[in-house]
Symmetry: C2
Subunit: 656 residues, 2 copies
């Protein structure tokens, strides 16, 4: 790790060399994290490379297995069958019509990025498919660097004409991210260079003193900043800043409605709330956080924190999903969080995850890790079926069980979510640990080995062993190369009310939840730490301003949100007539582990059933209701709708 | 009234004369009701002419006054300022661009129909504006009969090219209805003949053995059947049937999605549920009910009853509003009735009203009158501000009070609702009474005088005197020309649990609610009837499948649904923290009449307030909640958002 002075001088050298300097990596490709912050002035916590973390058996390993074995190869087949790869081959001469919506290129790129992350983890099963895709894509780049299957040939005249809705730079952003992931997997620059040539093409023609440029779907910002981190070419960071600040010449050219919907068109730092299309807003915020990390610009930080509070305090579902409205796939008003109508696109939960990862890097604040984990286990994880074959576009918090409402599908015309889910799960090892100048932080718990180094360069291995989120105990073995003083930070989720930490068997005493518990000591090889998180079933209520959740509770256990599905209820009990019984011992829910549902327990929960429910849509209130004791069965939310069409509820009425 | 034999012979004569016969009215224009069923084989109850009923002072008279004095003249000004009338003048040579969406003609026609209904009631204040509009519209008809400001001049080639979304026949339908209402007001055929010439143009080119024709927004069906009733020309009824049955050549040409959205494209009798765009579905059902009334076709009746049950048992709001979803302005699934996101377009509640009027005519079943009254007092009435200047497009059942959410506006780009509200209120006298072979039915209560006749032709006056819906007592004086035996049917709403009826001061005993109480006797001039409806405050619950209403009650009084608005609550009490206290005497709500709100009482309701509400979006449940006694104030729902931006709820949490 470079010292601050060294880092600054690297900056100056690079800046002096630009924009015509030959592209040069800042650090060895083997050492680069998913979001590579080694030299980022705004970063308090940095990631570690995907390759530095080997996951052992457990929850995510099973999920990643279906991604590798099922999701990635079947999506490639879908690309072939739907003509999405032929869209590229067409540019190389194949006689076919272009198929699918304008942004299909990006779906291929996200899929490529997912496979590249697998290769970073040493999983090479899908590498031949990726190499074939790289050949197909690379063969289609124009002499001048342009590459998009839509705005070419008979549609050449549309090129750069529909910046608001055309997705040209959005596709390029995903191409860059795929190229970077492939470079970090193998050291091969081929795909990344394809993307860079496209960027150079743009930089020649567009920018502050040239023609104005923008894209109505943020994504290029994130990608350019990662490209800057990978290559050291500051013009990429400046180009990202140009997009985030919005070209002043755009003023008045984008309608008020589109300013809200697209989250572009005015400087990011003028934003005051999360609004409009949730994925766009989430990607814009992620890109802006990247920009803050590289520039330390406090105006960005102020805006990011205001937006994050707006999200966390009024616009995020308990699943970590975001985007309440189908119309515009958009945020609603504050506290507008309907359950059945929740739009909560998988990609939006992913955007929330990306953004919180960057906010965590910028602040070290455990709130961001909490929200990131919430999105990961629930609103993201729900998007991929247990067998890896089907995907959710929407992830609602309630379903009526209507068989016309096919919530899980192998393919969508706009198939943005499937490869997005794949790339998150494929990159997951990169999200478990963080490195700071003080030492190592553990963000997420899972059996895994970290093989990395301390700030001073000496090697460090940390092994986690746990069945989390089945149980809450995590054993760590700490293996520095030699005795060294550094900090080991363990994230204590806000939901863990009663947490124990033992170092070499000794209880450290009071542990604060919703914070990193920092153990600073002289660590020696063989040291052991034990973390015991509070996995008791919790009942969570919503702010009364969330009107749909009045009188209802959500059931949670660890990081996992539960739900009630109709088919699990005994004796044909109708789930609409059920209320949780929270009188007396509210923790009476008992768990029965089930392999079917990712190995997590099915909860048996005391409940009451309304016995004689009047028929009809509306009826006069009767003075007393007729409750009958019952048992409700709850399963993890992420597993909903995996076993057929059945009513589902996250927020469940209760009596107390 | 004609005997059945006479009616049939009129039919045969007319059929024999068609399609080339000169158009001839079936009955004098002065005797025609809003939906004129004098000769309709499927009608069990028929309306009476608007001119036969004079409203006295009271609730609807005040509402109609603002329509006449404010709404109708200001909407005309808007039409002028927005270029909507110029769209017509342009066809007569004025050098302006066409403005507004494709269907602006229909907005003018609906406004014209409203004024014509006023004239039917003898209110002539706006008649000069209407006569001017008739001149403007009539001057633009082409030689061949075509008339539409959109599909002409530079857009001539679009004519009949976009049947699915073009609204050409939709506009014609409204032109016909305006022409019919004007004819029934004055006996002048000028505007109706303009419409008829357009229909003749269509009949020459389109139809079963000619080119196929359809319109993706039902409306022409209703209008053609009313034209048939007005003129006796059976080809109009057959043309309506052609649309309702859907041209077999359309099969496979309309996507599944559009089949749902438009409610056209397959035979109406193949429909099994209310779905798609709520106004389209409601107009289609109204047109189909008209078709049943004229043909007695049992297949239509079966479909209509199935669809009506689907609506009434799972898809109608307590306000009589319909259409849950913003996306597609559409019905949701069964029981999908969100409050804040309720779309419930004013026009959809009106479609519900129209349909139920026709179902009432076809069946005589009081359920239809109940639902019609519910829509009228609540989901329709809410659409027009108390001062008559502003209109709701959406009529949600909950508002957060966000000032960006301007729910009442003087104008909408798609300004279908304002004139639709006007024409319903302007025609209202025609909906109070019904006539059958047995006598007279009273559907709606309001101070009013009916000056009409019995089936045998002898004159009959009935006078209602009441302050309903302020109080529930209605006095009737019955004045037949001479002593005669007939039936007087009084609608007893389903909500009136304890009803009294006195004839000449004598209690008739048990009175069934949700039915017509039929008094068959020999009536003599000076007979008196007194009806006492049960106006106690009611607490209504929803079927537990309506998930947003779990644990919540609606407060109703008579036909009026109440709501809670933030600004009425004392001591800055936050409405989100309020729950109605239904322990003990649930009828303890007391009323204070307020002129501000249409003269209806403001209700003071026992409530509790949650004292220390945890901040944040989600929080762990505490074992006990801290309730403090409070008083909630409720106002009629229709008056919501008339006094600024403030939170509003119809469904309110309660404790019991």
């Amino acid at each position: 790790m470079l010292s601050l002075n060294m880092r600054l001088s690297v900056f100056f050298v690079l800046v002096a060399m630009l924009p015509c300097a030959p592209v040069k990596a800042q650090s060895d490709w083997r050492g680069q994290a998913v979001v590579h912050l080694e030299a980022s002035p705004g970063a308090r916590v940095r990631g570690v490379p995907v390759s530095a973390v080997q996951l052992g058996p457990g929850f995510w390993t099973e999920r990643r297995k279906v991604v590798t074995e099922v999701s990635i190869p079947t999506l490639y087949q879908e690309f072939e069958q739907r003509g999405i790869l032929d869209n590229f081959r067409r540019l190389a001469g194949k006689q076919v019509a272009r198929r699918g919506p304008i942004y299909t290129d990006s779906d291929v790129y996200k899929w490529m990025e997912a496979v590249a992350f697998e290769v970073q983890s040493g999983e090479r099963r899908n590498q031949p498919l990726l190499e074939e895709a790289i050949r197909i894509v690379s063969a289609t780049q124009e002499e001048n660097g342009y590459l998009n299957t839509r705005y070419t040939m008979e549609r050449l005249s549309d090129r750069h004409q529909n910046m608001l809705h055309g997705h040209e730079l959005y596709c390029l952003g995903h191409l860059l991210q795929a190229g970077i992931a492939w470079y970090r997997a193998t050291g091969k620059r081929d795909l990344m260079d394809v993307g860079i040539r496209f960027v150079r093409y743009l930089q020649l023609r567009f920018g502050p003193e040239k023609e104005p440029l923008y894209d109505g779907h943020p994504e290029i910002e994130l990608a350019l900043i990662e490209l800057y981190r990978t290559t050291g070419d500051r013009s990429f960071l400046d180009f990202a800043g140009y997009f985030l600040n919005s070209d002043p010449r755009l003023k008045g050219r984008i309608s008020q409605r589109d300013l809200v919907y697209t989250f572009i068109g005015k400087p990011f730092t003028e934003r005051t709330q999360m609004e409009g299309h949730a994925v766009r807003a989430g990607y814009a915020a992620s890109g802006a956080a990247d920009y803050y990390l590289e520039t330390g610009d406090d105006k960005y930080k102020g805006t990011l924190e205001r937006l994050w509070r707006d999200l966390a305090e009024s616009k995020v579902y308990i699943t970590g999903g975001i985007g309440s409205r189908q119309t515009g796939e958009a945020f609603g008003e504050a506290f507008e969080l309907p359950n059945q109508l929740a739009y909560t696109e998988s990609c939006a939960a992913i955007a929330n995850f990306f953004w919180n990862w960057r906010m965590l890097a910028a602040t070290g604040d455990a709130r961001h890790a909490d929200l990131l984990e919430r999105a990961l286990y629930n609103g993201i994880n729900s998007g991929l079926s247990l067998d890896g074959r089907l995907y959710c576009y929407r992830n609602p918090l309630e379903l009526s069980g209507n068989s016309n409402d096919r919530i899980r599908n192998p393919w969508y015309d706009t198939t943005c979510c499937p490869p997005n889910l794949q790339r998150v799960l494929a990159s997951l090892p990169g999200y478990l640990f963080g490195a700071s100048s003080e030492g190592i932080a553990v963000h997420l718990y899972h059996t895994a080995t970290l093989d990395w180094r301390l700030p001073d360069g000496q090697p460090l291995k940390i092994r986690q062993t746990t069945t989390y989120p089945l149980e809450g105990t995590v054993h760590f073995s700490v293996e520095p190369g030699r005795e060294t003083t550094f900090e080991l930070g363990l994230r204590i989720p806000a939901w863990s009310s009663n947490t124990k930490v033992l170092v070499n068997g000794e209880d450290v005493g009071s542990v604060q939840s919703g914070a990193y518990h920092r153990i600073r000591r002289q660590w020696k090889p063989g040291d052991r730490v034990e973390l015991r998180l509070d996995m008791r079933v919790r009942h969570t209520l919503a702010n009364p301003r969330v009107r749909d959740n009045v009188g209802k509770a959500a059931v949670e256990r660890g990081p996992v949100v539960y739900c009630l599905e109709g088919l699990d209820q005994p004796d044909g009990l109708e789930p609409e007539k059920l209320a949780l019984d929270l009188r007396g011992n509210a923790g009476a829910a008992t768990g029965v582990p089930s392999r079917l549902l990712g190995g997590l327990p099915v909860l048996q929960h005391p409940a009451v059933e309304q016995q004689e429910s009047p028929s009809g849509l509306y009826h006069p209130r009767q003075a007393s209701r007729n409750w009958k004791p019952a048992q409700a069965r709850l399963v993890p939310y992420f597993a909903f709708a995996n076993r057929g069409f059945t009513p589902m509820q996250v927020w469940i009425p209760y009596i107390e």
